[in-house]
Amino acid sequence: MFDVKKIRADFPILSQEIYGKPLVYLDNAATTQKPQCVIDAVSHYYEHDNANVHRGVHALSERATADYEAARKIIAGFFNARSEREVIFTRGTTEAINLIASSWGGANIKAGDEVLITHMEHHSNIVPWQMLCNHVGATLKVAPINDAGELIMDAFDSLLSERTRLVGVVHMSNALGTINPIESIIEKAHAVGAKVLIDGAQAAAHLAVDVQTLDCDFYVTSAHKMYGPTGIGVLIGKESILETMPPYQGGGDMIRMVTFEKTEYNDLPYKFEAGTPHIAGAIGFGKAIEYIQNIGFAAIGRREKELLRYATNKAEVFNGLRQIGTARDKACVLSFVMDSVHPHDLGTIVDRDGVAIRAGHHCAMPVMQFFNVPATARASFSIYNTEGEVDALFAALKKAQDIFA
């Protein structure tokens, strides 16, 4: 049984007041809050086990290394990677995409080749490809979206060709909530010989992901959007591809043998983990994943659908509100604009009622351009949000309307 009260009690930050009102945290697409078990895992590491990993023979270093590697194992299991060698820690989604663009892209994308992305990508899945394409003389192609904020699959199909080297697609859009049909995208991309990168920054906390069933080449995400710490994320890549890729950064940990003449690189996954990693972050990430596993995606999916439906029903009858992003398959995100109130003013006004939402372009300026709005207001939901909080949001929106009436 899904017990929201019990779940809320796991998140100490939620019980505070903002300007004398209970905090209503609806900015989960930006980052989620952290349960006590994650906070405890991070402080336990610093209080008891802090040491560098992979390089000490002393007890602390062995404990730190064991916990760091245990986190990798939890993550491998969660995404059903073939082995821990396919799990590379990064600073987050952004660094993971840059790693792929620089290492895999640098070696495999040549002048005349094409990279295909979609119109709903986050800037972090646009700019690295733009940079690479400019550098090597390749072409960036963009698959269009429709008025509901869904990928137009016919157009996607016709943009895909044997020139396409890589397809980069967001699993779930942070600006619109759209869930993309990545199974068929991966199948189609593979049929023309392209590799596929899935940006799972938003999706990984809401949808079960099995990289083997999906057969995706690269899946990337950030811990901080999955109840874990900031500054840590992961790249799950097929071992057969990672093996062929040159290192991303050089330094300690990524080597086996160094002389001034030549360096022999370490095995996977360490080849891509130069320098002292975010050890506490990785341990917290592992704990966050266990937290998700304990609740289970069946329960999470059911609950989040229920809450989105509740919020969407309210949005549909709210005078002067226009939803941005009404895909049939969507999750957890209510993006909107209002006739009389600019999103930025909305954000400020509802904040005074304790309601935290995001106002802006959500790092997806092309999406704003498509819908011809300068910005949107966005409420994004998580497992700990309640119907009462959705009511508080709409009451605050009404107040904003009254101020500008």
Partner: protein
């Protein structure tokens, strides 16, 4: 506690709804673009400075939140007819007002109606909205062709 009504004063709401000096000037000799990347506010300011170095006419167009639109509207009202030589002082005075300590009362005598924007001090993320037009005008007056930003 600081109330929302202190930020969204009626004057600000009015200027947002019906901005003064909105649109392109028929005749202008300075203009500049301003952009606030955080919220997507975009402004363009037009100024006509006559032979006596007076701001004979001034206008703006663009889109933005209530604070940035009202601020631009109030700015154009405040500066129209003033000598261009006074602009640096006006700029500094406004900049000081929106960044000074909350307990410091704005100099209403010198600031006039602009003092209604003193409330943004309580809302740090909104200060940029209030100063965007001023930075934009500054780059127009200084004739730099760079897009003004409020960083």
């Amino acid at each position: 506690m600081f109330d929302l009504r202190d930020l969204y004063l009626q004057v600000i709401v009015d200027h947002n709804k019906a901005p003064r000096n909105f649109g392109v000037l028929k005749k202008y000799n300075r203009d500049a673009d301003g952009y606030n990347p955080l919220c997507g506010d975009k402004l363009h300011v037009y100024v006509h400075v006559n032979d006596d170095h007076i701001i004979e006419d001034i206008s703006f167009e663009g889109e933005g939140c209530a604070i940035s639109v009202a601020s631009a509207s109030l700015m154009t009202e405040a500066l129209k007819g003033k000598p261009i030589s006074e602009f640096p002082d006006s700029f500094e005075r406004f900049q000081h007002m929106v960044t000074s300590d909350i307990n410091e009362d704005p100099d209403e005598e010198k600031l006039g109606k602009l003092a209604v924007l003193a409330g943004v001090r309580e809302f740090p993320s909104r200060i940029k909205c209030a100063v965007l037009c001023w930075h934009t005008l500054k780059s127009a007056v200084e004739d730099s062709h760079e897009i003004a930003k409020t960083e």
